[in-house]
């Protein structure tokens, strides 16, 4: 790619951050973002000029997110079930993320649904590209995204932002 890398950060940094939050949760999102952009910077000159930069960055973020989730799994204390209440971050040093409830609701989805929602609805990739990342067919990716959205309507809208209705 002949274009300055800074442009990729400016154009897609925010979306990739949200994708990372959706995939690995807000606590590890920044590490995943950092690893992804460092790796992207390294490979940038070899990227063809006509490449879809956002899709490429999301692909790298996807791989880094898998690494981060493996690390999470290694340090996680096994639990029987996911907590009912969304995790809150109000007391954290970074302050509250306004859409914490959204990430908690996403965390409650099965992996495939969560990834398909993240890559289609957060990153804006077509279902065929999403299928390329998560495996299976485009139709299956579409279905998983739809199931994920349906589940989020139940968990996020009811628990998370019911006060805004």
């Amino acid at each position: 790619m002949k274009q300055p890398f800074e442009q990729a950060v400016a154009d897609h940094g925010a979306v990739v951050l949200r994708v990372c939050r959706a995939v690995v949760g807000p606590d590890d999102a920044e590490d995943a973002w950092s690893e992804a952009f460092l790796s992207a910077l390294r490979a940038w000159p070899e990227l063809p000029d006509d490449a879809n930069v956002r899709a490429w960055l999301v692909t790298i973020a996807h791989r880094k997110a898998i690494d981060v989730r493996r690390a999470q799994a290694r340090r996680a204390i096994p639990v029987e079930a996911l907590p009912e209440q969304p995790t809150r971050h109000e007391d954290g040093p970074e302050g509250a993320l306004p859409d914490d409830a959204l990430w908690s609701a996403l965390a409650g989805l099965p992996d495939k649904q969560r990834l398909c929602v993240a890559y289609h609805h957060v990153a804006g990739l077509p279902h065929a590209d999403v299928a390329g990342l998560v495996g299976g067919t485009a139709a299956a990716a579409r279905r998983a995204a739809a199931d994920g959205i349906a589940a989020l309507r139940r968990t996020y809208l009811l628990d998370g932002v019911s006060s805004h209705v």
Binding site: K2, E6, G13
Partner: protein, 203 residues
């Protein structure tokens, strides 16, 4: 109802910009540690407009006026030096301070290391000579041609000045026509006039 979930997924949150700024700083620091950066840059305000300053590991490689179109300049740096270009919004303290001092009339020469890799051959010879034209004085294009080793290359001196990658720092504004008129300037004649007036007032 579905729209509200989908909207929430695609919406940027208010704190994202703050987080992204710190992520960018972290990226820049790690990239620098791994020697992955070709060029860093930022802009600084000045009395002659917003200036782009860009550097490689070796030193300041480009200063550009707004009229040169900063995006265009960065795109051309990406082609000529490398596309691993990152903004360093909090860096460049030294050149920013030197420019401030210069425009305040407190500084006559720039001390930051420069990287002249964007100039070659005769143009580079010209730039080397320009670095020795003292603050507050001027030379004609013909005098510079002579000093750079090719007295007949007056037009080429004009081209070297017009393509000077480091205006201000390499003082091409001190080259004027032998009849005393200003000649051209890559930052515009108003800027050239301003700089010469600044230097003659402070000299």
């Amino acid at each position: 109802m579905s729209d509200r979930v989908i909207e929430a997924l695609g919406r940027k949150s208010a704190t994202d910009d703050v987080v992204l700024e710190s992520l960018r700083e972290r990226l820049l620091a790690r990239a620098a540690d791994d020697a992955l950066v070709d060029v860093t840059y930022r802009t600084v305000d000045s009395p002659v407009g917003r200036l782009l300053v860009a550097a490689t590991d070796a030193g300041l490689v480009r200063v550009a006026y707004e009229s040169e179109d900063h995006d265009h300049v960065l795109a051309s740096l990406a082609t000529s030096i490398g596309s691993r270009i990152l903004k360093n919004a909090k860096g460049f303290d030294e050149i920013a301070r030197e420019l401030d001092d210069y425009f305040a009339g407190r500084r006559r020469t720039f001390d930051v290391p420069v990287d002249l890799r964007l100039a070659r051959g005769f143009r580079l010879e010209v730039l080397h000579h320009l670095q020795h034209i003292p603050y507050g004085s001027t030379e004609s294009y013909g005098q510079v041609a002579l000093a750079a080793g090719n007295p007949r290359a007056v037009r080429a001196v004009g081209t070297a000045c017009a393509t000077n990658p480091l205006p201000l720092v390499v003082p091409c504004h001190r080259v004027v026509r032998s009849d005393g008129t200003l000649g051209g300037y890559l930052g515009g004649l108003a800027a050239k006039e301003y700089l010469l007036a600044l230097e003659s007032a402070a000299a």
